[in-house]
Symmetry: C2
Subunit: 842 residues, 2 copies
Amino acid sequence: MVTCQQETPDPHNLADELIFFVNGKKVIEKNADPKMTLLPYLRRKLRLTGTKLGCGEGGCGACTVMISRYCTFQQKILHYAVNACLAPLCSLHSASVTTVEGIGSTKTRLHPIQERIAKSHGSQCGFCTPGIVMSLYALLRSTPQHSMEEIEDAFQGNLCRCTGYRPILQGFRTFARDGCCGKTGKGCCMEVTEENQAPTSSALFDPSDFRPLDQTQEPIFPPELLLGRDTPRRQLVFKGEDVTWYQPSDLSDLLNLKAQYPNAKLVVGNTEVGIEIKFKNMLYPVIIAPCWVAELNAVEHTEEGIRFGAACSLTTLGDVLQKAVSDLPPYKTEVFRAVLEQLRWFAGQQIRNVAAIGGNIMTASPISDLNPVFMASGSKLHIISNEMKRTVQMDENFFTGYRKNVLKPHEILLSVEIPFSEKQEYFSAYKQASRREDDIAIVTSGMKVVFQPDSHQVEKIQLSYGGMAPVTIMAKDTCTALIGREWNDHLLQEACRLLAKEMSLSPGAPGGMVEYRQTLTLSFFFKFYLTVLKKLEMDLSGNNNFHESVLPEYESATELFHKPPTSSVQLFQEVPAGQDPEDFVGRPIMHLAAMKQATGEAVYCDDIPHYENELYLALITSTKAHAKIISIDRSQAEAAPGFVCFLSAKDVPGSNITGIRNDEQIFAEDTVTCVGHIIGAIVADTQEHAQHAAKTVKITYEELEPIITIQDAIDKQSFFLPVKKIANGDIEKGFQEADHTLEGEIYIGGQEHFYLETNCCIAVPKGEDGEMELFASTQNTTETQHLAAHALGVPANRIVVRVKRMGGGFGGKESRSVLLSTAVAVAAYRDGSPCEMHAGQR
Amino acid sequence: MVTCQQETPDPHNLADELIFFVNGKKVIEKNADPKMTLLPYLRRKLRLTGTKLGCGEGGCGACTVMISRYCTFQQKILHYAVNACLAPLCSLHSASVTTVEGIGSTKTRLHPIQERIAKSHGSQCGFCTPGIVMSLYALLRSTPQHSMEEIEDAFQGNLCRCTGYRPILQGFRTFARDGCCGKTGKGCCMEVTEENQAPTSSALFDPSDFRPLDQTQEPIFPPELLLGRDTPRRQLVFKGEDVTWYQPSDLSDLLNLKAQYPNAKLVVGNTEVGIEIKFKNMLYPVIIAPCWVAELNAVEHTEEGIRFGAACSLTTLGDVLQKAVSDLPPYKTEVFRAVLEQLRWFAGQQIRNVAAIGGNIMTASPISDLNPVFMASGSKLHIISNEMKRTVQMDENFFTGYRKNVLKPHEILLSVEIPFSEKQEYFSAYKQASRREDDIAIVTSGMKVVFQPDSHQVEKIQLSYGGMAPVTIMAKDTCTALIGREWNDHLLQEACRLLAKEMSLSPGAPGGMVEYRQTLTLSFFFKFYLTVLKKLEMDLSGNNNFHESVLPEYESATELFHKPPTSSVQLFQEVPAGQDPEDFVGRPIMHLAAMKQATGEAVYCDDIPHYENELYLALITSTKAHAKIISIDRSQAEAAPGFVCFLSAKDVPGSNITGIRNDEQIFAEDTVTCVGHIIGAIVADTQEHAQHAAKTVKITYEELEPIITIQDAIDKQSFFLPVKKIANGDIEKGFQEADHTLEGEIYIGGQEHFYLETNCCIAVPKGEDGEMELFASTQNTTETQHLAAHALGVPANRIVVRVKRMGGGFGGKESRSVLLSTAVAVAAYRDGSPCEMHAGQR
């Protein structure tokens, strides 16, 4: 673990009580752990397991809950969706949390959102359902009236793998002010009009049966929190095993703390620090939460632009800029509109609701969506410490190295000032990612050009890129060379030549896809060129010197991307008229558990109550594709807190040979043949301890030549035997006699199964004769049973495997889940205690 | 709860670490709870569930474990059996505990004791087996060679309900130095010799197959404890929620503590205080354990007798007196022999191993087995405080009232001096209980007579009784009247007349059985008369004035009771010669799980690992036989620690009507019809909290006339309908035509089912559709399922009932276990958390 500072907080400072509300019930936590996020607290401590753990890093939305707070800066109650997997427990003081269990239940009444997602067949495996329900709930809780586009955008941060979203949207369309009637019959926009077909329908439900959305029926904001809104604040302190959380009362308190703990991290949304702690093994002994500091949460309109407190959320940033764009003349809001365009694709709604504008700047993210915009636009940064204030422009000198900037340790970023644009100034921003929404960029860019008055001669140009270096960079040489040039094809050619030179990457540059990234720098400029050209066409329409125009075939490159409205329907053949209403054959039938899935009552493997003496397993896997294991040093793990035992091949009581084809090992004996090959496991008293200890195990490898590609495998004649083929008759003769012979090759890439519910298994030894109950998220109960029995050396009838449901599998939980459940069975057999493994970071 | 003192201990005193060993592993407990006994610590904390909870009061022996200690007073390692249900956890500092798991396992090797009890069919339901194994283990661990009588005596404190003990003894006879060969064939003492029978056998096993007992294979005493034996001691303090435990380093430390906390209880074996805390709701905030005080553990031979430190165990008392009886002339040891005879029947071995000689004296037990002996013999008590020392004789003035004696609060009993008897002195002691061994007395007595030298004229007589008054008493009037009388029939007549008068009881005297107890006072004297007569016959054989003699038919009354050696065998018909060895029909077959039962691996209902969020239920039952419920005051319970909810009839989600005949209620609605009728239940976070809160619920009744006897029921025509009869043909005609008609009545009393494993049920709600898994100790899984479903209002297929085995049932777990499991199911359904009920005090 990487510990980032030396100071330890004053041990005489007693910890405060964390007080918040969950589903209307007051929660007083005397030992709030600064390292804990809301998700495990809800799931484990409060036993509210409707909120699911998917990715653990704010990417899938399965853990979405609604936070409500009285905002003293805006003087109103805010309701917003957040990822519980990232929200630090300690950040919830005076907040009200609403989970999927808090809005409806099959035992009382379903919330209309729950009812409609269920009845529209929008819940299949159901693992994403509670998160989707809560994303929409948070949207509708503030304002019940929204357009279909807004409703769709509310799910940017929610992934679903079963439904393709269509049935979800079909159900939720009934909430949209511009949604269709939902009747899908005559005259409805979704009416099936094709002629000459068997009678088909897309009517999964009758919307007139739905319970109406009624704001008066929603749980109220806890009155106690409203009463306390004006109470003067005093510093809060929460202490954990190795981390202390300070919530300063005001700016001077904050600056003093920062002076006292210069290496402390300021945390607002925890969307970066949370990931570092969970996935990068970082430890920050002191966390400072500036959420009460007015100056860091203020929005101020200045002469030159708008100044945002560094802790303002991206959602606030978007709302303020959106209003400015409506209110101000367009030429002043070129930069604002570029920021808004970037915000559309900046993570998901849940992240934007909590991530601070200052976050990417202070973490000096090299692939930030906004930093290139701030840099190209010449945004100003106001910096403060308890000694001085200063203002710097975010230019090419601001970032001093990978994850570094010019701020001194005791300084903090106070605010970011985004400038109005001038007349003759044009600004655009670009982002390319593998997936448009909710994805990390490959390359991002901010581009500004200022022309001489009433001309198309470049006065100044600033091209900034993210994803092309360890820091956000400016294409200085290119920009300098373009000054004074006219905005035409020659400039385009020259710019591309210069950019290709300036933005080159070495073949092994971190981030991969070197050629693609280089191409993107030019493509973005090409789009910028065309967009500016189009704007010049309009602005200089009276200028006789300007004759350029965008070719019609390039027109689309100047437009912002807008999804077409989703309108696809699923058609099914209707049952014959007069079919007995109790005869369900041929009718669309809602998933049996859809309603329980929508209310969070449906129990998945990790939702089973834990045993008191349950142990946790964490795997130690290969970091090499092909290597001999020379040594395993587990000394640090053995000294780690909560360590119970280390498992490797020789701890398997039965056979270490496993796999459906009997060609795998539970734990690698000498050689690993892929990255992720299981070498051993740590068993500990908590999942956190097990995962921590597993990270400390050091494997020494002797690397062997790996087989990475299909071509490698063909070259080395390395095949899965027997080779499978479909052959019938005399093949050779057939080909010889054929009139035509078509030859060719196809390549099929790998496909991530990407079930939202990660692998999970609980093995409960029964204490007698090797009897064991395995609760697993598996598609293959039989092999789970047989391979566990084989590993333990007991007859298969001693092993009971129970699967209630899975949060997705898609074939990925056929043979691969069994490797994990077998290791868990070995651990439980060895220790005699129930043992759990959950492949995820809580 | 009754709190017995006001002082609260000094909060600045930090608690010590409790360090002891269990099965060779060092255990360091930082938060040793003075109220906790060893049993729940083993079962819950260390998950060693082989040690069973039966009665919870040291009466059944199911919780027997072996304690080993280095005794600084005797300068050797002592191994002895104790009841883990009574042994305070805090008393184990520097001790080594061996449980049934520590001596053998089916996974490694069975201990010979485990093997032989299993193979001799000595383990049936198996619940008593680990305790019986450990009782014998403790005996053999000290000395491997014992007589069969000693082996049998080792189980005085162990109850078994299935086997009738015979097969256990048949197996264990193979360990006795006077045991038979075990071959039960030709020439064996157990050979079946009856002629003209089908070939029968009693040979359950072939003893030559048994693994031999090998002392060198036993786990050694932890060397660390031996190394520390001479370390100077300092006071130990253990602090619990509401009780503090002091273990003073020496006498002056003890006396200072007693001066500081005059109401503190001194605890040695916890065989009285433990019962008071568990069953009588007593709370002693300060406990002082004098086990390190040399003076309280010393044995000293004086001019007048032997002086025992008050903390000496009854086993030590017995050992020392036994030696004195061997070494001294018989006339000096009349009292000693009486004490030894009482000790034979004083509880069981496990209790005698820990109970202190001073215990009954200081608790002023009115039914003590030894107090009448000490009183009649004129034993002396040495008393000490940090101000003074004094000596009192234990006479009729020593006990000043029920559970009171002459000691002042800051004084302690230092030692008890039991006198040698004189020439012309005769002493006997008597005890009558429902069961000879391991039972509380109905009446006890100590009787001493001193004759004029060389005559049969009474110089002094002292008759003391327990069980006849709130204190141990002396029959003063009778004794005074008999002085000077000759020991003959006239004296006997006169004594009986006087005793009948002096030892009369009012009809409602506490303890019941008034006539029987009065009769016993005379019967004991009659036996004493005869016994003394017999001794006089021998001692005065040369005296011509003495002509009395014991009639042959009374002779047996003068003899001490000795069980005949157990020699019964179970005969079974042998299989025909030549039967296929794999054909098991007709052969005696060991219980399938006998070996696991003998090693403690067999899992009973309460041995299942607990869930993290498990709740506990305690019942509130009627104290009236027939009454209307006027009101239920649960206010105190609701304020009690850990309280979750109160349940009564209106909390039943389905139907409150229950029972196999549909004529019972889960919770009484208005009227109770028996003592123990379930009225409600408390659900809390721990069993202790639930049981504590349940005791605080106050029910107000309006009493109705009860039906207690069969005759009452006949008089009131109160029958279970339909009346069951077996009738065939024309009954009346049959009787009319019969040659003879025999008429009569039979009465059958009630029979306690007395399964050792008390009722236990765990209900695990599955969170969906009322699905629930019930783990119950029941003989009737079907009704458990149906009545739970009926109570919850769900289809029966939602309820799964799982029974692995029971620790006895005998019909008592047919319909009666279901009343409890149904209440538990209601609680689990209501709270959504697993809920357990265990009818016993841990």
